[in-house]
């Protein structure tokens, strides 16, 4: 019982961390602050994966999102602003319609999630998933796996082609 309470406290801590820092990403005036708030969101999501017994995905989330995508986004911020200006503000527009639409979407989503009776097959015990995921990727999902690798290669080459300066 005591451990149950502790689990809940830690869960709610990470839930609040995730949603709160996501709100900071969206509402912060400064681009750099948004980017660093995004770091905490990714941390929180990785912790939620760990709560769900997805240890491999939690590690993947840390490595790819925090180590890769976030650094890429920071490069994007740095390369598209003159750093001396300190003018890293991001303006907003269409605020009122967006609030209406987003609140509507959130309301509809939560209503349907609460009303639907999900057929739960019971909670699985938290066992290490890495070996099972590797086996599935190499057996049942080998075609999507290869397609994803080709997609990554194409995206990489395409990104390099797009940003390359034209040789004069």
């Amino acid at each position: 019982m005591d451990q149950n309470l502790l689990t809940q406290i830690v869960f709610y801590f990470f839930a609040v961390l995730t949603v709160g820092s996501a709100a900071a990403v969206v509402f912060s005036r400064s681009l750099i602050r948004s980017a660093f708030a995004l770091l905490f969101t990714f941390f929180g999501v990785a912790a939620l994966y760990a709560f769900l017994g997805a240890d491999f995905l939690a590690a993947t989330q840390m490595v790819i999102y925090v180590g890769g995508i976030l650094v890429l986004l920071l490069f994007g911020v740095m390369l598209t602003h003159k750093l001396y200006e300190l003018n890293l503000k991001s303006e907003t527009y269409q605020l009122l319609p967006a609030v209406v639409v987003v609140c509507g979407v959130f309301g509809v989503l939560v209503t349907f999630m609460m009303r639907t009776h999900w057929h739960s097959g019971g909670q699985s015990p938290a066992v290490p998933t890495t070996a099972a995921i590797g086996e599935l990727l190499m057996r049942d999902y080998v075609l999507p796996f290869e397609a994803a690798s080709i997609l990554l290669l194409i995206a990489l080459i395409g990104a390099a082609m797009i940003v390359r300066r034209k040789s004069e």
Binding site: V26, V45, L73, E91
Partner: protein, 101 residues
């Protein structure tokens, strides 16, 4: 006890916040951040359903593919933003109106 609905509500909140970011921010990099939030919310949903369906790992496999697509999207998106900055000297989306969209 923490059930499926807790995770679903968190994911709905993340999705809404990401959508808010996509709709309201002028800065293209900030819009990309919103898209990342949306993809993360989908991932939480998939992993939660995977967990609460008696250890069926298909949801986690899908989440891995989503992470792959997110990485590709971030790379190509930032490449487009950089070349846009080079051409029109700004990444504010309301000033990128060459196509009269």
């Amino acid at each position: 006890m923490i059930g499926l609905s807790h995770y679903l509500v968190i994911s709905a909140a993340l999705f809404s916040l990401g959508m808010m970011g996509v709709l309201t921010r002028k800065n293209a990099v900030n819009v990309l951040m919103g898209v990342e939030l949306i993809l993360n919310s989908a991932n939480i949903n998939l992993v939660a359903f995977s967990r609460f369906s008696a250890g069926n790992l298909s949801g986690q496999i899908f989440a891995i593919f989503i992470i792959v697509v997110a990485a590709a999207e971030a790379a190509v998106g930032l490449a487009i933003v950089l070349s846009m900055y080079r051409i029109i000297k700004t990444i504010n989306l309301d000033q990128a109106d060459t196509l009269k969209g």
